[in-house]
């Protein structure tokens, strides 16, 4: 009872802080908005890397794919996409507020489903790979996607696409996107929390611990792997669609398929917080984002060195992450038992 009340208090506290933050820390709203993007990144990465043991370095692919799919849908509803992206100012662009909102919602839905379709199609290729080969293979997918989109004139190639601007006051727009990312992150957190409590969660944990054994026990491993990747892609597609609209301008290498800025940090955040745990990715994302913003502010010019150092220290000295370390230190707090059940020890069959 007391644990569930404590959990409720924790969730309530986070909810209140999150609702109040954009109004109280008005000048930090863009950092707070990106914080939720980071949380979403870490949670969706952990489903693959932490819970299923498939360290994807290419999850950013679905973020970028969602962003472009949504942009094409939003523009395509009212204009010819090729003409729109041909040259800035070539056609006069004017979205009414209704067109904007309908386009955003529709674009986000298609982006989520499109990312799932891409995940299913790609799973036939990448899940033939295991361990480090899977990591490099997925990294290749993300890098190749960035280069291919960068050469694709229809979507503006390397010069990207300028998306319609939020209709209304800029502050309202900023809050709108803050809450959009907040809701997306919260939904993904509760979705995966539920998922890890089902048979599905057990199955992907079994794949992580020993995939060959799981196969020998008749578990349909390919099905579980494809679904997990698709779920990751679903939330990343939503996130990408929203981020494109938040950023107004999208472009293949630095925004959509941004491996260095977003793709690699997905892994770092999950490792830092503790992969394979519920709260680890969330804590890791917050910590990483705070460190990143601080280094940008105080060590400008050295920011990537500082972040590189953080990656090295995490990977070499602190692999289990914060939650992993806490679980080792206070296992009973996490419902992990290390002592055998002596009271019922006599039930042991002779």
């Amino acid at each position: 009872m007391s644990t569930s009340r404590r959990t409720l208090g924790l969730y309530g506290g986070i909810a209140i802080a999150s609702l109040v933050a954009p109004f109280v820390f008005d000048s930090y709203i863009s950092q707070l908005t990106v914080l939720w993007v980071m949380v979403l990144f870490a949670i969706t990465w952990d489903a693959m890397g932490g819970q299923m043991g498939y360290n994807s370095l290419g999850n950013i692919f679905f973020f970028g794919a969602g962003m472009y799919i949504s942009a094409v849908v939003q523009i395509g509803l009212h204009y010819d996409v090729a003409e729109y992206t041909a040259a800035y100012g070539a056609i006069k662009v004017d979205f009414t507020p209704a067109q904007y909102h309908v386009g955003l919602v529709l674009g986000t839905i298609v982006a989520a489903l499109g990312s799932v379709a891409l995940a299913v199609a790609l799973s036939w290729v990448v899940f033939g790979l295991r361990g480090p080969y899977f990591a490099i293979g997925t990294l290749g997918v993300a890098l190749a996607a960035g280069e291919l989109v960068g050469a694709w004139e229809y979507v503006g190639a390397g010069s990207g696409i300028s998306l319609p601007v939020f209709p209304g006051e800029p502050e309202v727009g900023e809050r709108f996107f803050y809450f959009a990312f907040f809701i997306a992150a919260v939904l993904s957190f509760f979705f995966f929390r539920w998922l890890y409590g089902t048979r599905f969660g057990l199955a992907i944990n079994a794949i992580r611990d020993d995939e060959e054994k799981a196969e020998a026990m008749g578990i349909r491993t390919m099905r579980y792997k494809t679904i997990t990747w698709s779920l990751s892609a679903f939330f990343l597609g939503i996130c990408g669609s929203l981020f494109g609209n938040y950023n107004i301008f999208i472009e293949p290498l630095e925004v959509a398929f941004a491996t260095v800025v977003f793709g690699i940090p997905m892994v770092v955040m999950a490792l830092l917080g503790g992969k394979g745990t519920l709260w680890g990715p969330v804590i890791g994302a917050v910590l990483y984002h705070v460190i990143k913003e601080a280094t940008w502010k105080y060590f400008l010019g050295w920011q990537w060195v500082a972040l590189g150092l953080l990656i090295v220290v995490t990977v070499v000295f602190f692999q289990q992450g914060i939650m992993g370390w806490a679980q080792d230190k206070w296992p009973e707090l996490f419902g992990i038992e290390v002592e055998e059940d002596s009271a019922e020890g006599d039930r042991e069959a002779a």
Binding site: L195, G197, T198, R199, F200, L202, A203, N205, A206, R208, D209, D210, E212, K213, A214, E215, A216, M217, G218, I219, R220, T221, Y224, G276, I336, E337, V338, E340, D341, S342, E344, G345, R347, E348, A349, A350
Partner: protein, 247 residues
């Protein structure tokens, strides 16, 4: 007696090494069959061929009359044929109960069921089987923290949880404390009689296999050397020579 597994003229080579040469044998339904032979005689290769771990070069393998030599491991497992591993494989980061709960049969598990939770009967069965192998008190411990022998017992319990028709056990007593071996023999026999599971057992411990199996096959130099009851096998001069190194 009807044969549950029929192996006919199965050959398997790894590069230039002929691991199994034209082996034929039957595993009788409802019985315990043994497979013995010196190290390197091809016992584990034969097990791997039967469960679909690798394709065979020649021959046929039938399970309940159905040709399975072209099927892969998970498909064969879902038909009801399971194997345990010589090196013991469990899910180390999960506790024993979870190891058991994910070992339920996956034959008929649909898309909806995989997103459901385990049933009360499944939990009860998991606890019952852990008690059966003597791990009930350790049910909430991480499987990876158990000793080798305990992991072996857990793997056996997981196999029973899967309700197979036949279980292929690769050296079930290797690494188990000698004083616990009698208990394990007893449990293997009970799995056979009470749960009706056919057993096909590789074993190096002669005392164990003579005590356990009703019919024994002996491999040597990749070929089938002898077949018979424990008494006949024990007296067979070829078997004795194979073990003592005479040719």
């Amino acid at each position: 007696m009807a044969a549950m597994i029929e192996v006919r003229n199965v050959s398997k080579a790894f590069g230039g090494v002929q691991a199994n040469r034209s082996i034929s044998l039957d595993v009788a339904k409802g019985k315990i069959t043994g497979l013995i032979g010196p190290n390197g005689s091809g016992k584990t290769t034969l097990f791997n061929s039967i469960v679909g771990y690798h394709p065979i070069d020649e021959g046929s393998i039938k399970f309940e009359g159905k040709e399975i030599s072209k099927l892969r491991v998970p498909q064969i497992a879902r038909l009801g044929m399971l194997r345990t591993f010589q090196q013991t494989r469990i899910y180390g980061k999960m506790n024993c109960i979870k190891n058991m709960l994910i070992s339920v049969p996956h034959r008929s598990m649909g898309l909806i069921e995989i997103f459901g939770d385990h049933s009360a009967q499944e939990l009860e069965k998991a606890e019952h089987l852990l008690e059966f192998v003597g791990l009930y008190a350790k049910r909430k411990l991480q499987a990876g923290d158990l000793s080798f022998g305990q992991q072996k017992l857990l793997e056996f319990a997981m196999a029973l949880m899967n309700q197979p028709q036949i279980l292929l056990l690769d050296e079930p007593t290797a690494g188990i404390n000698p004083t616990l071996i009698n208990g394990l023999i007893d449990r293997l026999k009970r799995a056979n009689t009470e749960f009706g599971i056919t057993l096909f057992v590789i074993e190096h411990n002669m005392r164990v296999i003579m005590n356990l199996a009703e019919n024994i096959y002996c491999l040597a130099h990749s070929e089938l050397l002898a077949e018979g009851s424990p008494e006949t096998i024990q007296k067979d001069k070829r078997v004795i020579d194979a073990y003592l190194g005479a040719h």
